[in-house]
């Protein structure tokens, strides 16, 4: 237990460094390479207005002082008021976050749950019908741009068939299309990885031994092979969740007007609201770190050989 606590502590420390690193990049890109005032104010803004905003944001102070201030604000989750909504940016983020969490859970959750049986069945008969279908469908899924897939689903189920709502989040049915759009590319990648990992494991010597012990096929596959295959599956699952949060939801939410963090990103970009954008980047970085830690812990639970 001590070891696990130690591990979590070290990972948390590493996580804080990663988040600070991400925020440092954001800081320097916005303050040094770019000029936030120029980005945030309209072109026709007067020099007085610019000076006022510069003063409000503390941009007239020395860069080191600005950075320390920024780092301090980051560590206290305080990014200041959103320019667009005139209230604390963190409030807006926390208000939008549950919708993104819901969409990600539905989409990536479904992808993970479907990919495992699909990949296993495909792996059991390499080149059987299920396998060929899975491989071809996965390749197709991998090759389609996510935004295009979403638009095709809108054309098919929204426009031509009129079965499902395509915009907003007013009813439970509204989540179906965005969740499918978010899920399909992940499902394709996951199914391929499950399949490959299972084929690898099924060819190992210990599987031969377990089979020679006369164990039921379900136990050979579902317990021995699957547990050994689950390290890469787990790693990719974590990566898919982070990938969704740190990018794919931006695309999916903006197509389906799903009111989560991703839509917030696009809205703050449109309104040149760097403060809100920073708050979102920060939140996502924190979530990515947490998910990485969870994956690490799960990894150790699956493979007890890995020690801290």
């Amino acid at each position: 237990m001590d070891r696990v606590a130690n591990l979590i502590l070290r990972r948390l420390l590493h996580g804080v460094i990663v988040v600070l690193g991400v925020m440092t990049i954001v800081f320097f890109v916005t303050r040094i390479i770019g000029d936030p005032v120029q980005v945030m104010l309209p072109v026709e803004a007067t020099e007085a207005e610019r000076a006022l905003l510069r003063n409000q944001l503390g941009l007239d102070r020395p860069i080191l002082e600005q950075f320390l201030q920024f780092a301090g604000n980051t560590l206290t989750f305080n990014f200041g008021d959103s320019l667009w909504q005139r209230r604390p940016a963190m409030d807006i983020v926390l208000q939008r976050l549950p919708m993104t969490a819901l969409l990600t859970a539905a989409g990536i959750g479904a992808a993970i749950l479907l990919s495992i049986p699909l990949g296993i069945v495909a792996a059991l008969r390499p080149d059987g019908i299920v396998d060929r279908t899975t491989v071809v469908a996965s390749l197709a899924g991998l090759s389609m741009p996510q935004f295009w897939l979403g638009l095709l689903l809108i054309i098919l189920f929204g426009v031509k068939l009129g079965w499902l709502p395509t915009s907003g989040a007013r009813s439970p049915a509204h989540i179906i299309l965005p969740a499918i759009t978010l899920a399909l590319p992940s499902l394709a990648r996951l199914a391929m990885v499950v399949r490959t990992a299972m084929i690898d494991e099924m060819n190992r010597q210990y599987i031969k031994v377990v089979r020679a012990k006369g164990l039921k096929r379900a136990r050979v596959i579902g317990v021995h092979a699957l547990r050994n295959a689950s390290v890469p599956i787990l790693t990719l699952s974590g990566w898919e969740i982070i990938g969704a949060l740190a990018g794919n939801v931006v695309v999916v939410e903006s197509i389906f007007a799903w009111p989560g963090l991703g839509l917030t990103v696009m809205q703050s970009i449109e309104r040149q609201d760097l403060i809100l954008l920073q708050a979102v980047v920060f939140t996502v970085a924190v979530m990515a770190v947490c998910i990485n830690i969870l994956i690490d812990i799960a990894h150790r639970a699956i493979d007890p050989r890995v020690n801290a």
Partner: protein
């Protein structure tokens, strides 16, 4: 004679590869009787391991049993999949060559032995734990109780092979197949494992099939020997008559190439040439291109003969048998 436990009848196992169809096992027939220890010897690639994997039903694609039958106490294992799964692991158990990779790395040894008990004997919980401890003691693992939770990588190679043997013995099999059980181990550990096998055989009345290329091991352990070459059994005999008077030139070559401790020759003889390419075997006797006694007749398949009691032979020109061997060549 008692009825055999295991019988192979004209077993053929093939692999489909880029270079063509390869027959790894080309019509092997043999029988193992209760309590007997049969050695199967041959160079690597002679098909001895594949034969035993076929018995355990673990030949993997692109390999497949193409012809012949495997039966246990007179009942075919190939015809009845479900019944075969009950027999494998319970009545026939196998110890594999490489103990380092033969255990599932993620499960404790207690779990891996326990699952055999649960599957074949319906023993679980405290009873299974007690039986597992007993088995580990039987194979000479000291202080097994606390080590049930250990993972395979926490044991040395020799210990793992002991654990493999304990696992194989868990369901009290009548036949133990040991596929090169000592090759991956240190010499001193090898001797310990051999002693363990002898002790277990005597104590439990096990029949053993020992697959090996080590003739010394055969001499120490076996009652009968089958010599395999290029997918066929070329000679079978009881161990002492085979060692005293090998009939097949290949067997004779193997023996000459093996040093005896008490009579170390100045130079070991070797068998000329190298094992044939399994995808491109010579016609007739596969050994003929390396055989000092071969002639034109060897280009056609040699018949199965019984030059002496208990001896089977596939050869046109066997070495002469010295002791009153009336070659009552019975063609089959």
């Amino acid at each position: 004679m008692t009825a055999p436990l295991l019988e192979l009848d004209d077993l053929v196992v093939t692999f489909t590869t880029r270079r063509g169809r390869i027959e790894a096992v080309r019509g092997v027939s043999l029988a193992v009787r209760p309590g007997e220890t049969l050695g199967i010897v041959g160079e690597s690639g002679s098909g001895k391991s594949v034969t035993m994997q076929a018995v355990m039903g673990v030949v993997d694609s692109p390999g497949a049993v193409e012809h012949g039958d495997i039966s246990w106490r007179g009942r075919s294992l190939l015809a009845r999949e479900g019944e075969a799964a009950d027999i494998r692991g319970r009545d026939i158990a196998m110890v594999f060559q490489d103990a380092m990779t033969s255990l599932d790395p993620l499960f404790s040894i207690g779990t891996q032995i326990g699952e055999v008990l649960a599957r074949h004997r319906g023993v679980t919980g405290a009873a299974a734990r007690a039986r597992t401890i007993e088995l580990l003691e039987l194979v000479g693992i000291a202080n097994p109780g606390p080590r049930l939770h250990y993972l395979p990588h926490q044991f040395s190679g020799g210990m793992r092979q002991r654990i493999m043997i304990a696992m194989a013995l868990a369901a009290e099999p009548a036949l133990l197949i040991a596929d090169e059980p000592t090759t991956a181990l240190d010499v001193t550990v090898q001797a310990q494992i051999v002693d363990l096998l002898i002790e277990l055989r005597d104590r439990l009345g096990l029949a053993i099939v020992l697959v090996t290329h080590d003739l010394g091991l055969v001499a120490e352990l076996c009652d009968r020997v089958a010599v395999m070459y290029a997918g066929r059994i070329v000679e079978t005999a009881d161990v002492w008559s085979l060692f005293d008077a090998p009939a097949h030139p290949y067997t004779a070559g193997l023996l000459k190439a093996t040093p005896a401790i008490d009579d170390l020759p100045e130079r070991l003889e070797t068998i000329e040439g190298s094992p044939p390419d399994p995808s491109d075997l010579p016609s007739g006797c596969a050994f003929r291109l390396r055989c000092p006694r071969a002639d034109a007749a060897c280009a056609s398949a040699p018949p199965l003969t019984h030059p002496a009691a208990g001896r089977d032979l596939l050869c046109w020109h066997p070495e002469p048998l010295p002791i009153a061997a009336s070659p009552e060549a019975a063609h089959v």
